[in-house]
C-alpha cells in the first residue's frame, strides 16, 4: 500500500490564488483538485441596484489583465438590454481594445509565466540575464499590447474611454498610423515566438472534454458574434441562451463556480486553443502558416498546445490590429461609417447577455435592468470558471500517465503545474 500526496500551496506564476491537491494510491490517482482559494468579492451581489453607467466600470475590476474584455462584454449586455446599435467605428475600437489585451495577456503568460518552466527557471528574472534579447523583445511585445490599450482605452488596465454607445475620446490619425507601424514591426518576433514554444517538449495528453468558442461565418470573431460552438460536438447556441447550454455548479474546494455542458454533463475548455480549433480557416494567412509550421492544426486536443495557440494568436492579432489602425487613420467616414461618439439611447427595462472572446476564452455577462437602468440581477461567467472542471480532468489524466511511467514526485508536480499554467488560469476572474 503506497500513498503519495502532492500539494502545492499558491501555484506560482498564474493570476490569483490556487492550490493543487493530488493523491496517488497504489499507482492510481484517487483525488485531483485545483482548490481555488481566491477571496470572493461578490460582484454579482455588489452591482445589484447600481445604475447601468457604473456597472461596466465596476465589472472592469473583476480582473486586472482582462479588464478590457469585462468592460466590452458588459457594454454589449447593456446595449442589448436597451436596444442600442453602435457604429462600425465603435466596434472597430472595441476590437482593438480587446486585441490589445490579447497581446498583453498572451505575452505575459507566455514569457513571464510559462517560459521559465521550459527553460528550467523559477521566475522570469533569470531569463533576463540568460537571454536578454528574448527578454527585451518579450517585454516590448507586452508593452505594445499595453500601448494599444492605452491609446484606445486611455490606460492599459481598466479602460476609461469605452462607455455605453461609444467612446469618449479618440487618438489622431497620425497616432493610429504610428501604432500600425509598431504592430507590423513586432511580427518577426511573434513568428519566432511560435517556433520557440513549438520547440518545447510537452507530455501527450488529449483532453476528453469539449471545447467552446465564439464563431461567425467567414470571421475569427472576438466581440462581434452571438453564436457559440462546442467544437467537438458541433452544437451551437445563441449567447442569450447560455444558461440552457451551460450549467454552472459549486464545489466545496473552489470559490469559483465550475461549469459543464448541460446536455451531457461533460466538462469543456475555452481558450485560444478552442478558438483556433473552431476558426482555423479564418486566421490571417501569416498566422495560419505559422500554426501549420508549428504543427498546430485542428483538431488539436492537447491542452499544452494552448501555449502555441496563444503565440499564433499574437501573430494573427498583430496583423489584424495593424489593418484596423490603418483604416481608422483614414479621414472620417472613409473606412468606417459613423463616428465613435457615444450614440443617444433611451434607458429601459430589459435583459442582455454580453458575449466576447476574452484572451483566455469565452466570457459571458448577463444583466437584467429595471426601467431606471438599475441592475436587478447580474451573472458573470468567466473563461477560467468554465475551465476548472476540464483542467482537473486533464490534471488527473496527466498525473495518471506519469505515475504509470514511474516518474518521480518532483516530475509529476512540475508537469501538473505546467499544465495548470498552460490553461493560463485567471483565478481572480473566476471567483469575482
Amino acid at each position: 500500500m503506497s500513498k503519495t500526496a502532492i500539494s502545492v500551496d499558491h501555484v506560482a506564476r498564474i493570476e490569483g490564488h490556487g492550490d493543487i491537491r493530488l493523491v496517488i494510491e497504489n499507482g492510481e490517482v484517487t483525488s485531483c483538485e485545483l482548490a481555488v482559494v481566491e477571496p470572493a468579492r461578490l460582484f454579482e451581489s455588489m452591482v445589484r441596484g447600481r445604475r447601468f453607467e457604473e456597472v461596466p466600470y465596476i465589472a472592469s475590476r473583476v480582473c486586472g489583465i482582462c479588464s478590457s474584455s469585462h468592460v466590452v462584454t458588459d457594454l454589449r449586455a447593456i446595449e442589448q438590454a436597451f436596444g442600442v446599435e453602435v457604429s462600425d467605428r465603435t466596434r472597430a475600437l472595441r476590437e482593438l481594445l480587446v486585441y490589445g489585451s490579447y497581446l498583453q495577456n498572451h505575452a505575459t503568460h507566455l514569457f513571464v509565466f510559462a517560459a521559465p518552466d521550459f527553460l528550467g527557471h523559477k521566475s522570469v528574472f533569470p531569463l533576463a540575464d540568460a537571454n536578454p534579447e528574448l527578454f527585451d523583445d518579450a517585454l516590448s511585445l507586452k508593452a505594445l499590447g499595453n500601448e494599444l490599450c492605452t491609446k484606445v482605452g486611455g490606460r492599459s488596465i481598466h479602460p476609461i474611454t469605452a462607455v455605453v454607445g461609444g467612446f469618449t475620446h479618440e487618438i489622431s490619425s497620425g497616432e493610429y498610423l504610428e501604432l500600425a507601424e509598431k504592430l507590423e514591426a513586432a511580427q518577426p518576433f511573434a513568428l519566432a515566438a511560435v517556433d520557440l514554444f513549438n520547440d518545447f517538449d510537452v507530455v501527450d495528453v488529449q483532453t476528453e472534454g469539449d471545447m467552446l468558442a465564439m464563431v461567425a461565418p467567414g470571421a475569427y470573431p472576438v466581440i462581434d458574434s452571438d453564436t457559440a460552438r462546442f467544437v467537438r460536438s458541433g452544437v451551437e447556441f445563441d449567447a442569450a441562451r447560455v444558461d440552457e447550454a451551460v450549467e454552472e455548479y459549486a464545489v466545496g474546494h473552489s470559490a469559483a463556480f465550475c461549469a459543464r455542458v448541460r446536455a451531457t454533463g461533460a466538462p469543456y475548455m475555452t481558450a485560444a486553443l478552442a478558438r483556433i480549433n473552431a476558426s482555423w480557416n479564418e486566421l490571417s494567412r501569416t498566422a495560419r502558416f505559422a500554426a501549420a509550421k508549428a504543427g498546430l492544426r485542428p483538431p488539436e486536443y492537447n491542452p499544452f498546445a494552448n501555449n502555441v495557440a496563444q503565440a499564433v494568436e499574437i501573430v494573427d492579432a498583430l496583423e489584424r490590429c495593424a489593418a484596423l489602425c490603418r483604416r481608422l487613420a483614414e479621414p472620417a467616414g472613409a473606412a468606417f461609417a459613423g463616428s465613435s461618439e457615444p450614440v443617444a439611447f433611451e434607458v429601459r427595462a430589459g435583459r442582455g447577455v454580453g458575449f466576447t472572446e476574452a484572451p483566455r476564452g469565452a466570457l459571458f455577462h448577463e444583466l437584467e435592468l429595471d426601467d431606471d437602468g438599475r441592475v436587478l440581477r447580474a451573472s458573470i461567467m468567466t473563461p477560467t470558471a468554465q475551465n476548472i472542471a476540464n483542467l482537473e480532468a486533464d490534471m488527473r489524466q496527466l498525473a495518471g500517465k506519469l505515475v504509470s511511467a514511474g516518474e518521480s514526485q518532483e516530475v509529476i508536480q512540475l508537469e501538473v503545474e505546467k499544465l495548470v499554467r498552460a490553461y493560463d488560469p485567471c483565478l481572480s476572474c473566476s471567483v469575482h
Partner: protein, 247 residues
C-alpha cells in the same frame, strides 16, 4: 540590499500587473531591491525575513487579517497599493449587509474555499500602513516614486488637495456645466485628472480627500442640476467604508 515582498489580498491583481507595466523601468527598479517574494512571478514560498511589504487588495477574510498581522510583525515598512488596499475600493461596495451576500451568489452552500469571510475593509483598518499609493489601478511610476521614498526616505508629504484644482489647470471645461456628475470636487488629487482629460468624469478612485468639503459639493450638485442622491451614491464606489461619508 533591501528585501521586498509583495502580498495580494482581495483584488483584481491590476495594480501588481500595472507595476510590471513599468516595462522600461522594471529591471532598473528591481535592481535596487532583493525581491524576496512576488507570487505573480516566482515559485518560492514567502520568506521569514524581509524589510518592505507591498500589499495589494482589501481585507475580506479572517485569513487575510492573520496574514497582515504577520506581515506587519516582520516588515519595517508597509506600502499599501491601490484603491482596494487604501479604501477597500470596489470590494468595499459589498460592505453593507455583507454577510447576507455570499448566499445571493452561491446559494445555501457557500464553498469552504471562500474561507472565513468578513466585511471588506482597508488594510489600514487592520495594521499600521507607512505609505499608500492611491488609485484604481495605481500609476506604475507613482508606485516607483513611493517605493523610493520607502527605501531611501524623503521629506515630501502626501498631497491632500482635491482633483478639481488639477483638472482646472488642464483647461478642459467642467462636467457640472453639462449637468454631468463628477467626483473631482471631493477626490484626492495626484493622478493629473486622467479620466476628465479623456472626456470621462472622475469616479473617485483615489478616495475622498481629507480636504474635501462634501456638504459644499452637494450644494454645487443642487445648483448644477445633478441630483444629490446620485452624487452620494457615486461616492459609495470607492468610499463605502470611509466614516467621513456615512455621516
Amino acid at each position: 540590499m533591501p528585501r521586498v515582498v509583495f502580498v495580494g489580498l482581495a483584488s483584481c491583481f491590476g495594480c501588481q500587473i500595472n507595476i510590471t507595466n513599468a516595462e522600461a523601468h522594471l529591471v532598473d527598479v528591481l535592481g535596487q531591491i532583493d525581491l524576496r517574494y512576488w507570487q505573480l512571478t516566482h515559485s518560492e514560498p514567502m520568506p521569514e525575513e524581509f524589510d518592505v511589504a507591498v500589499v495589494e487588495g482589501a481585507v475580506t477574510t479572517e485569513e487575510a487579517v492573520s496574514t497582515l498581522l504577520e506581515v506587519r510583525r516582520r516588515a519595517s515598512a508597509v506600502i499599501s497599493i491601490g484603491a482596494c488596499a487604501a479604501t477597500a475600493g470596489i470590494p468595499g461596495m459589498a460592505a453593507e449587509g455583507y454577510l447576507t451576500r455570499p448566499v445571493q451568489v452561491y446559494g445555501e452552500h457557500v464553498p469552504e474555499a471562500c474561507g472565513t469571510m468578513c466585511a471588506p475593509r482597508p488594510v489600514s483598518s487592520v495594521i499600521d500602513v507607512d505609505f499608500e499609493v492611491a488609485c484604481c489601478p495605481v500609476d506604475p511610476l507613482e508606485f516607483v516614486r513611493v517605493l523610493q521614498q520607502a527605501l531611501y526616505g524623503s521629506n515630501s508629504f502626501r498631497r491632500t488637495s482635491t482633483l478639481c484644482g488639477e483638472c482646472k489647470r488642464n483647461e478642459r471645461g467642467c462636467f457640472y456645466g453639462r449637468e454631468t456628475l463628477c467626483l473631482g470636487m471631493v477626490t484626492r488629487s495626484g493622478c493629473g485628472a486622467r479620466c476628465p482629460n479623456l472626456g470621462r468624469p472622475c469616479n473617485g478612485c483615489a478616495g475622498l480627500s481629507p480636504d474635501a468639503n462634501v456638504p459644499a459639493a452637494r450644494r454645487v450638485c443642487e445648483r448644477s442640476g445633478v441630483p444629490v442622491a446620485r452624487f452620494d451614491e457615486a461616492l459609495e464606489m470607492f468610499n463605502q467604508t470611509n466614516p467621513a461619508i456615512s455621516a
